[in-house]
Assembly symmetry: D2
Homo-oligomer: 442 residues x 4
């Protein structure tokens, strides 16, 4: 199969449900970068290299120089929020970035004012915003959201739009009948079915508008047949879910390393302390459960107990999140990992990550927006598994186990880029270098 990728011409709009800490850190950052005050550190698309060809060819272009991505100067931001604060005010409240940083882009940030959000306090109890849409029927809310997208596109003279969900974690629930087909789903919208969450209304509106949608929270949103089928029908890329930052990022880095060496793991205790709005929402057990399920799954897949019952059959994995205001957005994690090696001897690894949640998440939003736009121009529709790299719970085709190992995710992403650009895939075999040596001897 060959790819005929449309050029990234004209402006790209990035619309974000949830203009909180992550989104405002992203926006302030991109505006700072445009002005030359900062570098897009943490962004694979902007700062990452990709090896092409053999090691001896020494070809390592930047990703953005290899595949046709939208330029940062062509990006226009917008979004929805349950609070009416403009992006400058919201960023100041979030206390992630220092005032001196924000003030350099104050004008740009003040100009971005949130649209009224689709909100339902049944899904997020610990928030209490007033800046919400007045429509009371879910079909009408979806229509209003579609209208928002259209207006944003036309007012800003945009060529293309993508949506990346950066809002809160919704309460835990499982898919039901209304989520099985697009027909049932649309019926549910009209009937105001309580099982349709706000995030699903945004996703539906996006797909109907032909706009790619990436899901940064552990919400059910796109994990339902109705919307997956709808995305294929409408030829729209979708991807999710739950940005992989902080502790889970470290977990999917370290666990593959232990597994690579066939070291056993019989305990993994993970605790987090954080004091931002995300922490407040997760203080509610119903919302924490959604996050917990997302965080727990990664080890099960990487340390496959079915294949290796002697190494991973007794794994006890526990994850805790603690609301701890003194740390604000500085989400700190502590992991205790109990491993065992040769003859069953026990060892321990302790990892203390003093991280900044939004600083890690912001460049992920940027990369996802640019790659989803690329996928759209390459006519890759439906689930984009090659973006697993960015997610705690990567979305896959039904029946296909997700890949959590961040290094396999990276190879998948890079080989996908090589593939769509017509470059050789990389296997790291490399026996040819030595074959020459052997032959030169004879």
């Amino acid at each position: 199969m060959s790819y005929n990728i449309k050029k990234a011409e004209g402006k790209l709009g990035i619309l974000i449900p949830g203009l909180g800490a992550v989104a405002t850190t992203l926006i302030a950052g991109v505006e700072s970068i445009k002005k030359g005050f900062a570098k897009p550190i943490g962004s694979l698309t902007q700062m990452g290299n990709i090896r092409l060809g053999k090691r001896t060819e020494n070809r390592y272009p930047l990703v953005k120089d290899f595949v046709p991505l939208a330029n940062l100067d062509d990006i226009v931001f917008g979004g929805w929020d349950v609070y009416a604060d403009n992006v400058y005010e919201a960023a100041a409240n979030a206390k992630v970035l220092e005032p001196a940083v924000l003030d350099q882009v104050k004008t740009e940030l003040e100009a971005i004012k949130p649209l009224k959000a689709v909100f339902d306090s049944n899904y997020v109890k610990n928030l209490d915003g007033k800046h919400v849409k007045e429509e009371t029927n879910k079909w009408d809310l979806a229509e209003a959201t579609i209208k928002d997208i259209e207006t944003f596109k036309s007012e800003n003279n945009l060529d293309r739009v993508v949506i990346v969900w950066c809002a809160s974690t919704e309460k835990y629930f499982e898919a039901g009948a209304v989520h099985q087909t697009i027909e049932a789903f649309e019926e549910g919208l009209r009937n105001n079915d309580p099982a349709i969450a706000p995030s699903m209304i945004y996703a539906y509106a996006a797909i109907k508008s032909g706009v790619p949608f990436a899901n940064g929270a552990p919400n059910l949103t796109l994990d339902i047949p109705a919307l997956q089928q709808f995305a294929l029908e409408r030829n729209v890329p979708i991807a999710g879910k739950d940005f992989k930052t902080g502790q889970t990022l470290m977990k999917t880095i370290v666990a593959p390393g232990l597994q690579a060496r066939s070291l056993g793991v019989n305990g993994w205790f993970s605790t987090n302390i954080l004091g931002n709005r995300d922490g407040l929402v997760l203080d509610d057990p119903e919302n924490f459960k959604t996050k917990e399920v997302s965080k727990l799954g990664v080890l099960e897949q990487i340390l496959n107990a079915e294949q290796n019952p002697e190494l991973y059959g007794d794994l006890y994995h526990k994850v805790r999140i603690n609301y701890y205001p003194p740390h604000g957005d500085n989400k700190e994690s502590w992991d205790n990992i109990d491993i065992f090696g040769w003859l069953g001897y026990q060892m321990q690894i302790k990892i203390n990550f003093l991280c900044k949640d939004s600083i890690l998440a912001a460049p992920i939003v940027l990369d996802l927006a640019l790659f989803m736009d690329l996928a759209s121009r390459a006519e890759m529709s439906g689930i984009q598994e090659w973006l697993s790299f960015y997610f705690k719970t990567p979305q896959t085709a039904e029946g296909l186990p997700p890949e959590h190992d961040i290094f396999k995710q990276l190879i998948k992403l890079q080989n996908t880029l090589r593939h769509i650009m017509g470059e050789d895939l990389i296997t790291h075999l490399g026996l040819d270098y030595y074959q020459e040596l052997v032959e030169s001897m004879s």
Copy 2:
């Protein structure tokens, strides 16, 4: 190219220079496993699975069931040491394994008595062994070692032999004229050239005997043109150097993860405390330098400052090893990693690894012995880069940069195995699963 791998029939001898903590832990372990008291945890060959074919095929055989390796029951151990203690006594002194574990295989361990070692106190000042060969000329020492190998093979009725260096770190020095060609090297042996280290005499003897040689210490040993050329001429596999355990293992796990996400690193401080004989030897600055060079190199390659000066150009990397008797073989490491992300914001990672050095190293020796024997039977001669996975400083062909990223090393190893067994290489592309979905819509 197709491979015609000889079967692993008959007995395999594993000869080890240095019957200290690592070697005795290996031997006691293998004997315990043969008797059914323990599992070979930490050994990729024995406990690791390898995926074959597509994810949906669900083929994950054990490595040892996929490639033809020697069976543990066919292994016979021997070795050299500067102390005359038998393996039971040496294991007891090393205090890695509990008396109860050793006593279960006491008879087997007592039966293994070290041959007299080639030793030169100029290369290791802090040891003072008396169980050394009497020859004073290096050519004679090499001949005596070759004779040792022959005798060991015939007395034990062995089919094949491999050698894995588990002895001490020698002092730091660089290659000179005597190391450039096999002719100069043999002349140097005859002239007793002081620049030929004991480890080189063992390696020379191995290659001349057609015996694969793997180097577990950071010594120069095989990193000289003379012995590399000699190995190709004699059709012998060689591999090195410096077993990757503990802190460096963690480093080559974590650094690729940070690099994958384009996170900057401006400081990495690594300290170690250990109280075994290895720690005592490394308390001498000349020997520590050899180890330090080996430990420092890994970050430079993984976090490539040339490709990414903005992310890694200012990296300050410091490694310390401290002799600390209270911990014995429980080598503990503490790392402080200073990273920066979006807009340059600083974060920190602290990793405290309470490890057991010999427990991590023992299965590496086993895997290397088995894979080197496989390579020999597959007629793969010279440097075995596909075994980089096991080394702090992987040996490569001249001009070819080593790969330190443990995940690329793992793919290299696994794709090599797939390749020599005629299986498809794995690229993690996986777009085909989704192509079907798209097609099913039309």
Copy 3:
């Protein structure tokens, strides 16, 4: 006031409600010590020195050589438990001590069989023991317990008995009318008042029998006017509550140090992982609350926010306990302490304590038993505040704030010993040494 302390002649019985991990570790330890296999490490009475007189006198006797304590050889152990296992079996189940250690004192441990316990599952839901007293009325249960004490004393030919509570944490509740006077309390016993907890029945029985009672759990037990008044009337020493081990021990060591230097503290996050039966009981929120109240109080008193609102007025203190089976009795704690200094600059302290809960608690039980017996012989009745050193929540006279600073607690303990033995109290003034120097100049 002068003290007329009776000699420690004859045998001392130590009766323990709860023959679990802590009690069996104590008993196995004392028996090992008697046989010369071990030292009573962690016991202030046995291993601690006490300074007497001026520094230049160089008088530092062991505490046990300074005050008249019962000799270890004169101790006889007994106890109650909800499981019928003898002490050897219970110790083996607890997995604190290695089999080799237990086997050295197997005969002694097997000989100790628990009496049937007073148990009420309303107070401890996660346990399910069957070895419980059949009486259904609380007065009858108290009488049966008194009878147990008498029988234990006469059968073992004891001179004196003390009781130290080592059983589980009961659910949280507050004192009511039935706990206000001894008359109301006895009426409640007869009426089977649900507000009388099992631990109170033991305490009542002890006091009525003239037996000192120390409370090692955070239970309400002795913190009620009824029993405090009863103890004074009967001339019986009482002390509590909640053995100070592990994380709280470290907290009352570190917090006074920060306070001494007038460093501010605005956050203290404490988490614990443990996998023993104590952890299982505390997995029930009602029981955890009792422990949480006890653990939280220490910082409030040491870092007195009323006196120092600018330093401690914003302190956010959070304590978590997590049931984590992989660690068994190895209770590990991790603390993150956010402090601030000069000009408000923030700093952090992280403390990771890899402790063994019962190893720390066992010598506390021994010391308390010996000191309570001393108090009894010195006719010190009622609350023994000078033993605050051993407790998370020291009991004090009504209206008197407890002292949590472990160093003030130690001085209190030591000066009490000096006081009752007629030695000068120590104030660490020490200006006299220098006065001599000045005078020698004139």
Copy 4:
């Protein structure tokens, strides 16, 4: 003995050799506090309370309200340095305080320009300042320094002056003949004896001028009979040595806690990473040795192996300092403490202190200046042992062991203040509260 303390009237000059990170952080802080921008956090004299009388009296005045100390508004700063930068420039270079903080007191800081220093590169190799006195004879250098003090006093119209050494650690050396008497010392000054260090010249000049001198570095300075005798003759208080901050502060907090509980300690490994000028100076082994001796001594005294050979006889204590530029003044320490308890069972404590060196040291300088001035007005001359609280190596009378336990140091300090103010000393006995209860029963 009764004390007749002169009032703190008029202005107090604080002269500081070494206007580096610590001194400039102090000065900027005091000026900010005077202007109401900040609080003197970390200063016992300004923020600390002292209990007076019985607990029930509830008397806890601030120290500064209890004893007559100079008011911050009456303080005038000056000093010497080998660099000519004014205090604003030096503070900016030190990078401890943020520009926004410094700019609020820019005028005040710019006005303070260093006097030329007494410098000798033989004592500090890694510094290379040019702003040094031209005199080549040590007697002349002392005279010039005395003249500096006089001029500073008269120009600023000061009532009193104190000197606190905040300059670098000098190389290690031991006292010789020239240090034994003041006569030999003065002869040595005239003869330019190489064994007289720059810090000794400052100290001599101070004492001769009747100015108290406190030594914040581990230098030999005041630890010689010549200057101790001279201080007594001239009626001048002296105190030292080596400010107790960071890791050693934590060590003298934690070690007494372990010792209090009779827990054994068999290993204590301490490492530090720091990147300020202090770290650069200590990168020279000769200077590190001076610091190492100071840092090692604290455990030996607190964990007295002579009194407790079974608990502390095998203690292995190792201290490392690593120059690590990424951290600047953020001196981070990591300690691994190996302890053992009941039956010899091993436990571990890990402490990671992310501290800011100058933030911890600055308030110590302030307290010492104010307390030394108080001592002078109270006519307390010679060694001020009651200020041990502030030092890594407290100075004591010959033959008197220093007290390192920070809690005994605090009681010593507080009881000294109570003593000179005529208040009752506190012993924490507190039996009287309970005596009343007992009596009320009869």
